[in-house]
């Protein structure tokens, strides 16, 4: 989903328009508290928050000039910015387009950092994402994938309407730390228990985070490996837990702690 900025024109006004006018609360307060204090990083983060790829690129170059190394810039600048974006989305101050454009600016920033490094940044771990067989609702999955990538995970995005066997085979071959599924229809979420059962038959044990409109905690916890993914921005936290070697059972039980204490309503 890397789409380069067509125009680096006044994105800020566009953002302000869509976030402020529609909502009584101000995103500025959220941004202020979330921004890193070091100006080198805060400019990078702000570029991500504004979805302004050109600003991300120029502020990264300025940061390199000030002696900041690319890996630190990723963690303290780009990822810090993306965390603010997640927060704004969670609070209803940002809508999907703003998240997508931010993820896009972030991806541009990662590219700039990797160029400077001279090699791809080491990924924190591998995650496979997909939308259930028969289901084409992929907006949530795109966000999940973008947020995972933005947080330094390698993502194999299998797309939408993915047959059970394709998910199973990819997990078998690529050995990810975690696999996710998204389903928005009552008719399609039934693919998840089938995937879990197939993995089990093959002796593969893995956290399988399932989310999307129609999916409920009750449904997901009825099969082994299943963890109910509530919000897209929980995905990187869950992936971190999986990479650390936490079992699907532990992740299921500690969901609230792992995802940062956001109210987990069921």
């Amino acid at each position: 989903m890397v789409i380069l900025a067509d125009k680096a024109k006044d994105l800020r006004t566009v953002f302000r328009r869509y976030s402020l006018e529609a909502e009584p609360a101000s995103p500025d307060a959220v941004i202020k508290t979330g921004l890193p204090s070091d100006p080198n990083f805060s400019k990078v983060a702000k570029g991500v928050i504004d979805g302004d790829a050109a600003a991300v690129e120029s502020s990264l170059k300025a940061a390199f000039g000030a002696g900041i190394d690319p890996l630190t810039a990723i963690n303290d600048g780009l990822i810090a910015g993306m965390n603010v974006v997640s927060d704004l989305y969670e609070k209803g101050l940002y809508y999907l387009p703003q998240v997508m454009i931010a993820a896009d600016a972030m991806a541009v920033g990662i590219g700039v950092c990797e160029d400077k490094l001279g090699h791809p940044a080491e990924k924190k771990g591998l995650v496979v994402t997909h939308v259930a067989e028969g289901d084409i609702h992929d907006i949530g999955k795109e966000i999940v994938s973008a947020l995972l990538a933005a947080n330094g995970y390698e993502v194999i995005n299998l797309g939408r309407d993915v047959p059970v066997e394709d998910v199973v085979n990819t997990v078998r071959e690529k050995k990810p730390a975690m696999v996710t599924g998204t389903a928005l229809m009552t008719t399609t979420m039934t693919a998840f228990p089938r995937i879990a059962a197939r993995l089990k038959e093959l002796g593969i044990v893995i956290p399988f985070v399932c989310g999307g409109g129609a999916v409920t905690r009750e449904f997901v916890e009825a099969y082994d490996y299943g963890i109910h993914g509530v919000k897209a921005h929980h995905a990187p936290h869950l992936a971190a837990a999986a990479v650390k070697g936490k079992s699907w059972k532990t992740i299921r039980e500690d969901y609230e702690d792992i995802t940062g204490g956001y109210a987990y309503k069921w």
Binding site: R17, I139, R160, D161
Partner: protein, 340 residues
Amino acid sequence: MALSSKDRVMLALKGKKDEIDRTPVTCANQTVTVEQMDNLGIYWPEGHSDAEKMAQLGMAAYKQCGLEVADAPFDQAVEAEILGCEVDLGKKKESIPSVPFHGYKEPGDVPIPEDFLEKGRIPTVLKAIEIMKKDVGEEAPVISHTNGPFSLAGHLGEINKILIMILRTPEKVKEFAEIGIDLIADYANAQFDAGADVVTVEDMLASTDILSPQMYDDFAAPFNTACIKKIKGPTILHVCGKGDLIVESMIGSGATNISVDMATDLNKAIPKTRGRCTIMGSVDTIKALFQGTPEIVREQVISNIRQGVDLVAPGCALSPLTKSELIKAMVNASIEYFAE
């Protein structure tokens, strides 16, 4: 003299509460279920492309459950298909056609066939409407469906890309949406010519799950308004999701009726519609009609009636796995409520 479902729905849509015996129970979106298919021995995907099968399935909820509507088509891909998008009709009996297309880069790349009413599945839909009209047209309203212009734009440009364009190249999104104005209006008018009583403009992608209310006003509302103005018969505007912040704009579209999702607060929405349009809603398609019981469905219907909806309807398209028992419970709840 007892009213027919058709008269009841048509009067209710026009806000003539005094002339009807009870609140009708209808649907703005697709109503076909696997149970209905099993009873008929007619299935999807054939029911998406064969006019006779489409018509039989479109009448099934009325004939089998008493839901006061005959409808077609059942998917959102008809218009995109004639504009050159790849469409997957699905493999299973509960499969609904989708647009796996990766999107035109430019609005100018979209080929608009001169004789588009003769292309793709449009003749199938029109024929199915004719068949339904002949069969149940005296008793039940034929409600056919089109996309809203923004939703069509979402298929043409691919929604995830359109979302990014909204912030980067908003004019392009508007050009994509403009394509739908005349095309959808012409298609809707052809549906009326074929015998439709009402047309639902389904603007699924304009949901506030996806767009902010301001974006709705910029990229969906003006195009719905322009399109609906050109449609010659009564219309229902349906937008998915939480509609609280866009109800005012939905009403402004000029549609005869607005159909809101269960996530929308009826207590706030209904007063806004008064004297301007009518409103239908909003039995929960998942918690009540799919996972619920007749009792839960009944409670929701009665609560909708008490809140003052002009027509009771599911909040969105029925899941194909909905049980007939629960559709019947929805209809009976209104009948029983007004009998008491």
